[in-house]
């Protein structure tokens, strides 16, 4: 104010400012940072609220995963993002930290499964093509459990069935996997109704367990009586009807597959419950056969070579396949100093069908506990013998044939032996071989050298005989032939038309004719006048003008047949 009270003389005409409308207070400006603070705080609060649990998943490899980028998806919906990647303490696996969204909190529970979705190209199809461009993502599948969990072990392969898919899972057991893989189709009447979800070797290492998932509603066709079989590849069978080629579908030829169907005949058709165990048969024909029942082991001792007898070679009883060979072992017998071959086989008595039930009934009547041993003993008594027979002449494959051999020598049979030992008989081919041997032996005894010498001698004699024939006999033969020729010439002359013989013959024949005529006249006369034989001929009556020309003329000429020339 002091300054304003001391004005210079030059500022008297300086105008006074005008008074303007009053502006609002400057302190309102603090609203701006307050607003910014509110926005910032809301961001913080929201991110805090949105942040779900952080979980750790361990994978074998972090291939395709990127921190801060790779999403975790459930049914193609993002439920979280990979936060960071790290190695486990033992450096064997990759630990992936994932921030789940708040809404996906329920995924942090015990049964949730995680796996990395990468493009997969298999024989059965192609999956995850979208990840070719977008990069891998982590797939998730939630389970039933509500138990919270933060650490997971990621699957190396995507699970083939997501939780909650309608359908049933079943367990199959097989000797080997064949060409089946996870995802291989399962067919019911050649319609794909499911697929293989997993397989693993059983703890004993001898069998394989497969899990298959059959989608609803076809899962109800899996009943207690259902048979599963491996439908991989092509089934080529050469039967009496010709060549037959059978396959489930073109895909199974390459990728493998499983077929199932109910066994023929009246069956228990209640649908099988979840996780029922089934046997996976090698092919459809085996699967559809009636059940084999309990196997029995038998043993046979062969004293001949069993070349061509393989493991799994069939054991046939009167041509019916009742089992197969399981072992072929060489043994040594000190007493005879020979090498017998012990062949072990499995037989299924139930394959004998009606015969088996009847035989079992008979054995039961005898009151014996082990009916099979009793039955076999009886059959051996009737001449049942095992033979290694030739099944295929080209390849020399042998099979075991149980047959009744007529006139087989009696052998001792021990029904208590385990396994049962069935006496053997040399096989047909080896018998044939023996006979051939004998024939060859006899043939060898034939003195071919001597026979040859004799033959040679005879041939020389023959040769000299022929020489004689040529030199002596042939000229004489020539002379004789000329004589014959002459004779024939004269005969020819005698028979010619103008020869005297011919003329004489003509005259004679004429005479004969005349004679025959007079004979006829005579007989006519006689029949008319039989008394003439006694009385002689009567004098002729007056000649009749109408008498036949021949008769009056002939009758006076030759009254008697013998009066001719």
């Amino acid at each position: 104010m002091a300054d304003k009270e001391a004005p210079n003389e030059g500022i008297e005409d300086v105008p006074q400012p005008i008074v303007r409308r009053r502006r609002f207070s400057a302190s309102w400006i603090w609203l701006v940072p307050a607003l910014a603070a509110i926005v910032g705080a809301s961001l913080v609060v929201r991110s805090a609220l949105e942040a779900g649990p952080q979980i750790t998943i361990s994978f074998q490899s972090g291939e395709g995963l990127e921190a801060g980028k790779t999403p975790v998806k459930y049914k193609s919906v993002v439920i979280g993002t990979v936060h960071s990647l790290g190695l486990s303490a033992d450096r064997n696996s990759v630990l992936v930290k994932v921030n789940l969204h708040k809404s996906a909190e329920s995924f942090a529970t015990a049964n949730t499964r995680f796996w990395v979705v990468r493009p997969r190209i298999g024989l059965g199809g192609v999956s995850g093509v979208d990840t070719l461009f977008s990069g891998a993502f982590i797939g998730a599948d939630i389970g039933d459990s509500t138990e919270p969990r933060r650490d997971f072990i990621g699957l190396e392969n995507p699970p083939s069935v997501t939780h909650g898919t309608p359908g049933k899972s079943f367990e199959l057991h097989s000797g080997d996997l064949g060409s089946i893989d996870v995802g291989s189709p399962v067919y019911y009447r050649r319609i794909q109704v499911g697929h293989v979800t997993s397989y693993q070797l059983d703890p004993n290492g001898k069998t394989v367990s497969l899990h298959v998932f059959i989608d609803a509603p076809s899962d109800r066709f899996v009943t207690q009586a259902t048979r599963f079989w491996n439908a991989s590849g092509v089934d080529v069978s050469l039967g009496a009807n010709g060549l037959k080629l059978n396959t489930e579908s073109l895909a199974t030829v390459i990728a493998g597959g499983i077929g199932f169907q109910d066994a023929p005949g009246p069956q228990d058709d209640t649908p099988a419950p979840v996780d029922t165990n089934f046997v996976l048969f090698g092919d459809e024909a085996t699967a559809m056969r009636p059940p084999d029942g309990e196997p029995s082991y038998i043993r046979m001792r062969f004293d001949q070579s069993v070349r061509g007898l393989d493991i799994d070679a069939p054991v046939e009883f009167l041509g019916i396949d009742i089992g197969h060979v399981v072992s072929v072992n060489l043994d040594y017998d000190e007493t005879t100093e020979r090498f017998p071959i012990i062949v072990g086989a499995v037989i299924y008595p139930r394959r004998l069908g009606r015969a088996q039930t009847k035989l079992a009934a008979i054995a039961a009547k005898h009151g014996d506990a082990d009916s099979l041993a009793q039955t076999v003993g009886m059959l051996v008594g009737h001449g049942l013998r095992a033979q290694a027979r030739n099944g295929n002449l080209l390849t020399g494959q042998l099979y075991i044939s149980l047959d009744f051999v007529p006139g087989a020598p009696k052998v001792a049979f021990n029904p208590a032996a385990k396994p049962l030992e069935i006496p053997t008989q040399r096989g047909s081919l080896s018998q044939l071989q023996e006979r051939l041997d004998a024939i060859v032996g006899k043939l060898q005894k034939v003195p071919f050298d001597k026979i040859g010498d004799h033959l040679d001698e005879s041939l020389t004699q023959l040769s000299s005989t022929l020489h004689h024939l040529n030199t002596d006999l042939l000229p004489q033969l020539k002379g004789s032939l000329q004589g014959i020729n002459k004779t024939l010439g004269s005969a020819d002359k005698a028979l010619s038309g103008d020869s005297p013989l011919q003329q004489n013959l003509g005259l004679t024949l004429e005479e004969l004719q005349r004679m025959a005529r007079s004979l006829r006249v005579f007989s006519d006369y006689l029949s008319a006048h039989p008394e003439a034989l006694i009385r002689g001929r009567r004098p002729d009556a007056a000649p009749k003008p109408e008498s036949p020309p021949g008769a009056p003329r002939a009758s006076p000429a030759s009254p008697l047949p013998g009066s001719g020339p």
């Binding site: 304003k4 005008i18 008074v19 940072p33 926005v39 977008s134």
Partner: protein, 207 residues
């Protein structure tokens, strides 16, 4: 009184628009009698406004850096980038020059503005005579480079408009860029609301 007298000491005030010299008003809300522009000895509540805007700018700067500013999508590959991750990616992809430019425009310049304004404000509060000339130059520099911070925002806006190939690739802005834009705008307001004449006021003057 060796220094030349100031208009204030003579009881005069100049109109910033039409340059008419008037008597210093004794009310707060005076206007030029010729053009009506407000006549103020100093910008009213300059320090308060600057502080408020600076603090607000700093608050928005935090989410601007944390939140992603841009989503690039090419062939299904979704990529969210914050300012810093974008710079790092540019650097990794051998575009060091570009990385430096973006880094300067988006990080160095805003930070520089924060620091410069902070220095100016603190100096005014302490009424120090330290480096008055340099401070004046600093203020002019802030005014000059302030606009260039909008580079990032322009880049995002341009890319969003240009890169629209549906499936092949597309770019879309994310919330971070809004915060970044707010930061730039708020710092510009802050530097505008600062009255550089305060630098030259001595102890007796009032802010």
């Amino acid at each position: 009184m060796t220094a030349p007298p100031r208009a204030d000491q003579l009881g005069l005030i100049g109109c910033p628009v039409c340059s008419l010299v008037s008597r210093a008003p004794n009310v707060a809300d005076a206007g030029c009698s010729r053009c009506g522009s407000p006549l103020q000895r100093r910008k009213p509540a300059s320090l308060t406004r600057t502080w408020a805007l600076l603090i607000a700018a700093f608050m928005v700067y935090i989410p601007a850096n944390i939140l992603p500013i841009m989503r690039t999508e090419s062939l299904g590959d979704v990529d969210d980038n914050t300012i810093l991750s974008g710079v790092l990616e540019l650097w990794d992809k051998d575009s060091q020059g570009l990385a430096v430019i973006v880094f300067c425009a988006s990080i160095v310049v805003p930070m520089l503005k924060f620091l410069a304004l902070l220095v100016l404000l603190i100096c005014v509060h302490r009424r120090t005579h330290w480096a008055q000339l340099q401070r004046a130059k600093l203020y002019r520099m802030i005014e000059l480079i302030g606009h260039w911070s909008m580079l990032d925002v322009f880049v995002v806006a341009l890319l969003t408009a240009l890169v629209r190939f549906n499936l092949l690739s597309s770019v879309e802005p994310l919330p971070g860029v809004i915060f970044f834009g707010l930061t730039v705008v708020l710092t510009m307001f802050a530097s505008r609301s600062f009255d550089p004449r305060l630098t030259w006021d001595d102890e007796e003057s009032h802010g």
